[in-house]
């Protein structure tokens, strides 16, 4: 029995009928790659509870979470944009992970400072998102993810807007946080280099199906025509 177990998960978007089967081990980093429109982000939205599956099930750690509300699930999602509210300070944005109504105790403030330290933004509490760079904004969002203490972290093309060096740096940060906080990470990316750099396993998705899932090197070297088409090699 795997840690995350997705079985026969079905969803229809316009003409595309998607059906996902996927298993992920505890503590691993799994990259999800594939052409755009294949259903990568939909899969994360289904796991996150933002879309309701028409059939099938999702289990995490042996518990069925298929019908839970988004906030009750043991997962947290980092989006590509808009992870922060522009009118709230960095501390408030992170603090939302502790209390959704922002009623923060002194203890909570200490926790916020700790989380900011984890992502290398000590002392950034009072800044506004508009004063930060794109990379710093994602770090703030990651700090909130850590505070939420959910065992599964999902990155939905979270670093796609950043340059190659910065992207590498952010992935490095996620990897170190993963180890420290014992996380399981699912990351959707459009760059196979990200997968090769950070992921133990990789799933290739096309037309709403998991075409192949396994060791990252194996998947990227596979002779499967869909994968070769996608990679262009």
């Amino acid at each position: 029995m795997s840690y995350i177990d997705i079985a026969g998960l079905q969803f229809t978007y316009e003409d595309l009928v998607m059906r996902f089967d996927l298993t992920v081990d505890e503590g691993e980093v799994m990259a999800i790659i594939g052409p755009s429109g294949a259903g990568k982000s939909t899969l994360l939205a289904l796991i996150g509870g933002f879309e309701a599956a028409q059939a099938g099930s999702i289990a995490v750690g042996g518990e069925d979470i298929t019908d839970l509300a988004p906030d009750a699930r043991p997962v947290t999602t980092l989006f590509q944009d808009h992870n922060l509210f522009a009118h709230l300070s960095v501390a408030q944005n992170v603090g939302l992970g502790l209390h959704p109504g922002l009623r923060l105790s002194a203890e909570d403030r200490v926790a916020v400072a700790w989380a900011l330290e984890q992502v290398g933004l000590t002392g950034f509490e009072d800044r506004l998102p508009g004063q930060l760079s794109g990379g710093e904004r994602q770090r703030v969002a990651i700090a909130r993810c850590i505070l939420r203490k959910r065992p599964v972290l999902m990155l939905d093309e979270a670093f796609a807007a950043l340059g190659p060096a910065l992207r590498r740096e952010m992935l490095q940060l996620v990897l170190s946080l993963k180890v420290r906080n014992n996380l399981t990470v699912l990351m959707v990316t459009h760059d196979p280099a990200d997968a090769a750099f950070a992921a133990d396993h990789t799933s290739f998705i096309a037309d709403g199906q998991v075409v192949m899932s396994g060791d990252t090197a194996t998947v990227l070297a596979s002779t499967h025509p869909a994968i070769r088409d996608y990679l262009g090699t």
Partner: protein, 540 residues
């Protein structure tokens, strides 16, 4: 329409005729306002008694008070409705309701007023229900209550249409984030919605306040006496009935001061307000799923929908039932023809002037002359500052003695309603021209596309729809305007608006009902036809 664009096209060649004409027209408008005030003040100079300050204060006080209350009620209702509509993006009648919200823009004010009377008036639906249930109660519509109901009826849809785009602008991720973090509706209100409203409300409230402050038809028909008189109505009475030019001028100057203050505040609020694609699906909101939220939202939407549709339903029902008691077909037909003629003439005038001014403004923007561009925009919006009554009286005064007023009545109405419709024309054309310029100027310059070729292949296809919208909008505004026809109209020039006003004033409600229905149908058909015929099919 072709000739209209042709003269405006050679943008590359120095100061074109169109641009110069635009400047000229703007100067004429500005000069007109100054002349009017000079004339009024001069004409009232020989008055002996001191001005009735107590009366002026009372009128001003009531005008501000009703505008304040109308704005407050409209906004409160709009916040509830917009929030409910945003949370329930899947509500079955949502599209229909949003379409309905665009109706007051096209519906002549006096028609809406009749609808309100038909529901809340002495023999309206409400009174009938009370009677049937056996409650001894008589609604007293005339006075503050009537003005407030009518103002909310007209401004609630506008406020919804202004607010909804703001709600729609919240990125889908924010709602996912709220769901992921487990925010309840109160948290969402505090953390997402209040900041959103705080950005939008100042601008929207000033606009609605100004509309209610300068209200004419509503206060004239529903005010019901000297105790509930607004500034605009007082100006009309001073000028048309008492011929007290000095009082008229004083009231008019007061109004300009307040309107200018209001306009300055709108400008300071500084946000380009989006009126438009409200039917677009708002991002899915997870907080609308809870059964309690659904119950609250559905009740709000249904209650609001009833408030907004009932007057229209009453209007249609009474209008159909009243056809027997309608005015004679001959007088209806001639009034309808006068309405169409005046509307089209007013609309064409407003659109032509508006297009030229907008082109000149675009040109000024291009050359980096921001002040010039602002002045042009401001001159075109004269109708927002200066009471149409005042402009009309200016035309009146300027013409007295030299011209037979009776013979220039039609020209007076057309000119006045064109000035009133001009701000709306500019509201449509200015952004359209800006977008067109930003999109095409460089490419056209690079390809050497100028003059007639550019107009045919680039400008007309892209500007055709906004021009059609501007023409349709200004035509129905001119057609439904009561102020101009009330000031200039005479027994030989009665349009449907004036006919309806007379019937309402004489409490001939059955006849009024059918006139109102015909006017509404005509306005809608008019708008639709112009948009289709001139605008052509949608471009993708």
């Amino acid at each position: 329409m072709r000739a209209l664009g042709r003269i405006a096209t050679p943008r590359a060649a120095g100061l074109s005729v169109a641009v110069l004409t635009g400047y000229g027209l703007a100067a004429v408008l500005g000069g007109l306002a100054i002349t009017v005030f000079a004339l009024l003040l001069a004409a009232g100079d020989d008055a002996q008694s001191p001005p009735p300050y107590a009366y002026i204060c009372r009128v001003l006080g009531f005008t501000l008070w009703q505008a304040f209350l109308s704005t407050l009620l409209s906004l409160l209702a709009a916040i509830l409705m917009t929030r409910a509509l945003a949370r329930q993006a899947q509500f079955p009648g949502r599209m229909l309701l949003l379409r309905l919200c665009a109706l007051p823009m096209v519906m002549p004010t006096i028609v809406g007023i009749f609808g309100v009377v038909a529901v809340y008036g002495g023999s309206g639906y409400l009174a009938l229900v009370a009677d049937a249930v056996g409650i001894d109660w008589q609604p007293r519509l005339y006075g503050l209550a009537g003005i407030l109901i009518a103002h909310v009826f007209f401004n609630l849809p506008l406020a919804i249409r202004l607010l909804l785009p703001a709600f729609a602008s919240v990125p889908a991720e924010s709602w996912r984030l709220a769901a992921q973090l487990g925010m309840g509706s109160r948290d969402i209100f505090r953390i997402i919605e209040i900041p959103l409203l705080r950005q939008q409300l100042p601008g929207i409230s000033i606009i609605i306040f100004m509309l209610c402050f300068t209200t004419f038809a509503v206060a004239l028909t529903l005010g019901g006496g000297p105790r509930a008189t607004t500034l605009e109505v007082a100006i009309y009475q001073a000028l048309r009935f008492d011929f007290d030019l000095r009082l008229g001028a004083m009231l008019a100057i007061l109004q300009v001061i307040f309107c200018a203050g209001g306009a300055w505040a709108v400008w300071r609020a500084g946000r380009q307000m989006v009126l438009g694609n409200t039917a677009r699906l708002v991002a899915y909101r997870y907080d609308g799923r809870a059964s309690r939220a659904r119950l609250v939202d559905f009740s709000v939407i249904i209650f609001g929908a009833i408030f907004l549709t009932l007057p229209i339903l009453a209007l249609v029902q009474r209008g159909l039932a009243g056809m027997v008691a309608a005015a004679s077909p001959a007088s209806l037909l001639s009034a309808a023809l006068v309405s169409l003629g005046l509307g089209l003439a007013g609309g064409l005038t407003a659109t032509l002037i508006g297009y030229l001014i907008a082109q000149a403004r675009q040109r000024a923007l291009l050359q980096g002359r921001k002040r010039g561009a602002m002045l042009l925009g401001l001159a075109g919006r004269l109708g927002l500052f200066v009471s149409p009554m005042v402009i009309g009286t200016g035309i009146f005064l300027a013409a007295t003695g030299s011209v037979d007023l009776y013979r220039i009545a039609a020209a007076g109405v057309i000119l006045l309603s064109a000035v009133m419709a001009l701000p709306f024309v500019l509201g449509v054309l200015e952004p359209a021209l800006e977008v067109a310029a930003a999109r095409h100027d460089r490419l056209c310059a690079a390809l050497g596309l100028t003059g007639w070729n550019r107009f045919c292949h680039i400008d007309w296809p892209t500007l055709r729809r906004p021009i059609a919208t501007a023409l349709a909008l200004s035509s129905v505004i001119a057609m439904g305007d009561l102020g101009a026809i009330a000031l200039f109209g005479n027994q030989d020039m009665v349009n449907l608006t004036l006919l309806l006003y007379g019937q309402l004033g004489a409490y001939r409600l059955d006849g009024a009902a059918s006139t109102a229905l015909i006017l509404l149908a005509l306005a809608l058909a008019f708008y639709w036809t112009i948009e289709r015929v001139v605008g052509g099919r949608e471009l993708h």
